[in-house]
Amino acid sequence: MTLGLSILGLLPLPAWAHSFARAYTPPMPYELYLYGAVATLVVSFFLVAIFASWAPEVRRAPRSLLISQPHLWARMDGRGGLVSVGLLLLCIVSGLIGNPDPFRNFNMTFFWVVFLLGCIYLAALLGDYYQRLNPWWWMTRAWGRVWPGLVRGHYTWPRWLGYWPATVLYILLIAWELFGHVRPMQVSLVLLGYSALTFIGVGLFGAVNWFRYGDMLGVFFRLIGLMAPLSREQGVDGRRCWRLRWPFSGLLERRAEHVSEVVFILFLLSATAFDGLRDTRPWFLFFWEDPYAIFTPLFGDNPLRIYPQLRDWYINFEAVCLLLSPFVYLLIYLLFLQLGRSFEGSRRSLHAWMLDYAYSLLPIVLVYHVTHYFTVLLSQGLKIFSLMSDPLGRGWDLFGTALTMRAPILPDVNFVWHFQVILIVLGHVVSVYLAHRVALQHSPNRLKAASGQLPMLGLMVIFTTVGLWILAQPLVQR
């Protein structure tokens, strides 16, 4: 997921830099980090291959790890809907009539930073709580009490449709965020449009189907929630409980259902990577400075000199790259899976392999997301406390916090870099482990499972290398 933080001018580090800034130099050469990361992955792979027990069935956590839902949470469960609907309405209203300044208007920081960043990280800890707090679900439920036919829908969900609506909507959201002139007013209009689309979707296919397959945010939160060490279940007494489990183990309890869901996951990966890539200097310079004289003959002048004329062309080019990115990733993913099948001599179809291993990519999605955007949460997210006092940006101070926590938290660049390196490596190691566990479920023995996973190890090495390279590029400070 790439989040529109460029809108807020808050992409983690480049925002604090400019073209004449001095570059941050890591204490060790970049290559050493790379070698270290790759070595860690390879060693991890072999350790997993040697020591991971062969367990065809995934064992669920024992009942003893069921804990009662905290009272406060239970109360929120009932009333959280009101809060979430209220926040949605506040976002819409503040964008429509509030201050057009993205930093002064509640909806930009809340929607892009608190909701799409903070709430995602919360889902990785607490599970798919969004399912019960989804404001559109609550509004639909309320509507359903008055007009039951609405939430039942008129058509069954076509199997071929899978998760494509959610996938397409999410791609559009990111494309809009990256290439649109996103302002508070536009956010409100998009939220209104999304609301209308949701109600139409619910009316056509019913609430259950729409929120499962069509609601991009619902799908996103559900996937992230699978990695949480908590899941919500019904206890023996019928009451809701929380079940403790190993982090990421939820990914082994289910598998992807449809190619569209796989594309959704791959887009989460590719969009973040693309967002990072397009912010790197080499990407920028390759086109605009054209040091290899590729584009100058095409356009008749150096691209940088004719930027105003090329801007739209460039946006279209980047938009196409973004749209194609999940499919490029899909091709690469399938290629490595096919290699794995060959290595293992598996008779399971490539389609089955594709669905089997898709969830094992989600830890990478999470770490990409965190490494790219956690600084935004620190620099801009905390401003929500001041914005609560003045949601429309009109100089109010409703709770006496209007000037509170406006100063950004600016972590040390050295810390950021090393935190990113550790997270990236950790995410890929977890991914390797999960993929191996999946392989053990389907392979006849450990050796075959390991051999089938060798290409996946290669894929992880590529992902790690590219991820670290992208992250290393914008590290500049003044």
Partner: protein, 739 residues
């Protein structure tokens, strides 16, 4: 007879009335309205010259029919009000020396139309009136684009040639009132009177910004006749005769809808970027510390800094022809002047207009706080008078028009000679320029530029000279000691794996800089000081100009120091904004030993405090610890260096309002100063505010807030060094000037 009575009335002096009418810069200030019935006693007026009307609130009376100006429903100006109370109240806002806008209570301006006068909301030059004092308290008005304002016996206002209308029809009085609508203006949000000096024989107190570009503007004149700087890359003016609403209006004309043609998108490597173009009063997206293509030195922002203690500012006329030509294409101003020296001179001349405009606001020539100075002694006098000394400088790529073209094969075509250098130095001196950069960003006939950006700047070098930089390994330097800036830059594209081996060197030499192919690692400019450069440096020294060492190639700096040290006594030089290209400890020590000053880019309070420790290290090593310890900065405002960000949430916050010159951190030298309160800079009309902890130095006004940052981070030592920085610069200048 009427005319005589009119003049007689105007000549009667009522002490105090004038002071009330025009004091305090007069913003939204007026007097009790007194009916000024023609010939029937009443208070008369004290305005002696046309400058005395500045920012007062008045009713306007015509000599022709003795009636006062009124505004009809359709905006027509009629002189039909029998008393001043019945007449319209005009805020007389200076548009220049002796020029005014007449701003009514509805926010409209009295505007010359074809042959009539109307109050309109439009902000055009037709609203500017040249006012001349005919006699004490009696004035004539003429549109700067049309003819003289006349009123007939029926009270109808029209425009006629000054020569065709009788004097009575062109004569007006301004009767003080109190109910004017304030003319829109940027607040400065500082309370209290700023300090004056303690005597000409005492060190000055106040800080120095030794590198900034106040002349950068999308129009380098008050009357709109000159054109934009930098090809129109930067939007916004430091002032406009029509006020802030026009000076900082909307950048769409230059940056395109939603800013899609803004060069900042390229500078920030965000080619798909957009921004809200609207300026005053909402300022949604600009000015901001990382929006380098919008005006940050509107004069009221500078005034805020001055009030807080800015006392010396070196303003450089600047241009980079290569960048300017790109700017022409972006801003759709293809005819904008891009000649380096021409643009620089225009910017410097524009600053004289700035001085006049501020004088006009403050009541006439010489009364303003913005004073261009041409000698260190003059600077001392101005600062002692509690004003800002403005030193003029030039920082351009092709100084003295000494550009160069590199032909294939490395053949150099120089664009200047020694005679031209001499003539240009004289031209600059006559213009009042006293601080010069011999090198800047692009290679020239004088030598190589300091490389600090291995990509876009190299492309600009190519566009300007026809060749990319030729680089070499940077010489060794004491890496365990602090540098102002470590030398060299990683070049793009560097070819991984190639280095200093003979084969690589042969290949690179063969390309002669035509291809931008470089070994990996930090590279320095291979071009240093040429024979012409050597001549120019010695000529600058002979002419007693301050020479800035920044932007010279790293190895050129050694040569510059050698030449400086050949002089007796050694010629001091300045490093005013972070020494692009590199300035290492050994060079810094030499500079200080020679009597120079080293000021960094303007950082936030943390950076200021850190740099102070470096400066102390170099001073100790140079053995000059007994000289004054001053640490100013080079803000590079309106340049492309960017501005400091906030210190971050972990720092002790700046709490508004805060007090200057009293309390913890303020040493005894400030005890005589009146304390001043600095408020959060907020525009009342929109609620827009800039909090330094949130946005950093979004505009130059936030420099005042930076003082509190420095107090919080560095305490008394850091504040003292800051407020000693003007004195330190002046002492360096004296060593240059009094040779």
């Amino acid at each position: 007879m009427r005319m005589i009575r009119f003049i007689a009335l105007g000549a009667i002096c009522v002490p105090g009335l004038f002071l009330l009418g025009c004091g305090e810069g007069g913003r939204n200030v007026g007097l009790d309205a007194r009916d000024q019935t023609w010939g029937v006693g009443g208070a008369a007026l004290q305005q002696v010259s046309e400058f005395d009307l500045a920012n007062g609130c008045y009713a306007m009376q015509s000599a022709a029919n003795e009636a006062f100006a009124n505004i009809a429903a359709d905006g027509a100006v009629l002189f039909d009000a029998p008393t001043a109370t019945d007449g319209e109240s005009f805020h007389l806002r200076p548009a220049g020396l002796g020029e005014y806008l007449l701003h009514d209570r509805a926010g409209r301006l009295m505007t010359a139309e074809e042959n009539s006068v109307r109050a309109t909301s439009a902000r055009t030059r037709s609203a500017i009136w040249s006012v001349d004092a005919l006699d004490q308290g009696v004035f004539s008005l003429a549109s700067v684009v049309s003819a003289a304002l006349t009123v007939n016996a029926q009270g109808q206002a029209s425009l006629q040639s000054e020569n065709t209308a009788s004097r009575a029809l062109q004569s007006f009085r301004f009767v003080p009132k109190v109910d004017c609508k304030a003319f829109p203006e940027m607040p400065i949000a500082i309370r209290g009177d700023t300090f004056k000096g303690k005597g000409l024989n005492k060190p000055v107190l106040g800080w120095a910004d030794t590198h900034t570009h106040m002349g950068m503007s999308h129009e380098m004149s008050a009357d709109g006749s000159v054109g934009p700087s930098a090809g129109g890359v930067l939007y916004g003016q430091i002032f406009n005769p029509l006020g802030v609403e026009v000076a900082l209006e909307d950048c769409q004309e230059f940056h395109g809808p939603n800013g899609i043609r803004d060069a900042n998108n390229i500078l920030e490597a965000n080619p798909t970027g957009t921004h809200d173009t609207q300026g005053w009063p909402s300022f949604v997206d600009w000015p901001a510390r990382n929006f380098l293509t919008h005006q940050v030195m509107y004069y009221r922002w500078v005034e805020r800094a001055y009030k807080a203690g800015l006392r010396l500012m070196v303003n450089h006329g600047t241009n980079i022809a290569g960048l300017c030509k790109v700017g022409q294409l972006y801003s759709l101003h293809p005819t904008a002047d891009c000649d380096d020296m021409s643009v620089a001179v225009k910017q410097v001349e524009y600053l004289y207009e700035m001085q006049d405009y501020i004088d006009a606001q403050e009541g006439g020539p010489g009364k303003g706080w913005y004073r261009i100075v041409k000698s260190p002694q003059e600077a001392r006098e101005v600062i002692n008078d509690g004003k800002l000394a403005v030193v003029l400088g030039v920082e351009v790529a092709q100084i003295f028009s000494c550009g160069i073209t590199i032909l294939p094969g490395g053949i150099e075509v120089r664009k200047c000679d020694e005679a031209q250098i001499d003539a240009e130095i004289q031209r600059l001196w006559d213009l009042g320029v006293r601080h010069v950069y011999p090198f800047h960003d692009i290679n020239s006939s004088l030598g190589g530029a300091g490389i600090f950006s291995g990509d876009v700047m190299n492309l600009l070098n190519f566009l300007d000279t026809g060749a990319f930089w030729e680089t070499t390994e940077c010489r060794d330097f004491p890496e365990d000691e602090p540098s102002v800036r470590t030398p060299g830059a990683e070049m793009v594209p560097a070819v991984p794996g190639i280095g200093g081996d003979p084969l690589t060197s042969t290949v690179l030499a063969a390309t002669g800089g035509v291809l931008p192919v470089y070994p990996t690692g930090l590279r320095c400019n291979a071009r240093t000081v040429t024979d012409l450069g050597d001549y120019a440096l010695r000529a600058l020294m002979a002419n007693r100009l301050v020479i800035d060492i920044d932007h010279a190639a790293y190895h050129s700096k050694d040569i510059m120091l050698d030449i400086a040290e050949e002089q007796d006594p050694p010629y001091p030089m300045a490093s005013s904004h972070d020494a692009h290209g590199g300035l290492t400890s050994d060079q810094a020590v030499r500079m200080l030993r020679d009597g120079g000053v080293i000021y960094p880019y303007r950082g936030n309070g943390i950076k200021h405090t850190e740099f102070l420790q470096k400066l102390k290290f170099w001073r100790a090593k140079a053995g000059v610890e007994d000289t004054i310890l001053g640490l100013g900065y080079g803000a590079d405002a309106n340049g492309f260096g960017g501005h400091p960000g906030p210190r971050g949430a972990g720092s002790k916050p700046v709490v508004y309002p805060f007090t200057l010159f009293r309390g913890e951190g303020w040493g005894p030298q400030f005890a005589d100063f009146e304390p001043m309160q600095v408020d959060l800079l907020t525009i009342e009309e929109s609620g827009k505010y800039w909090h330094i902890d949130e946005v950093g130095m979004a505009n130059y006004g936030l420099v005042a807030d930076g003082v509190e940052e420095i107090r919080l981070e560095g305490g008394e030592e850091a504040l003292t060094a800051l407020y000693n920085s003007a004195e330190a610069y002046i002492q360096m200048w004296e060593r240059v000037y009094n040779r």
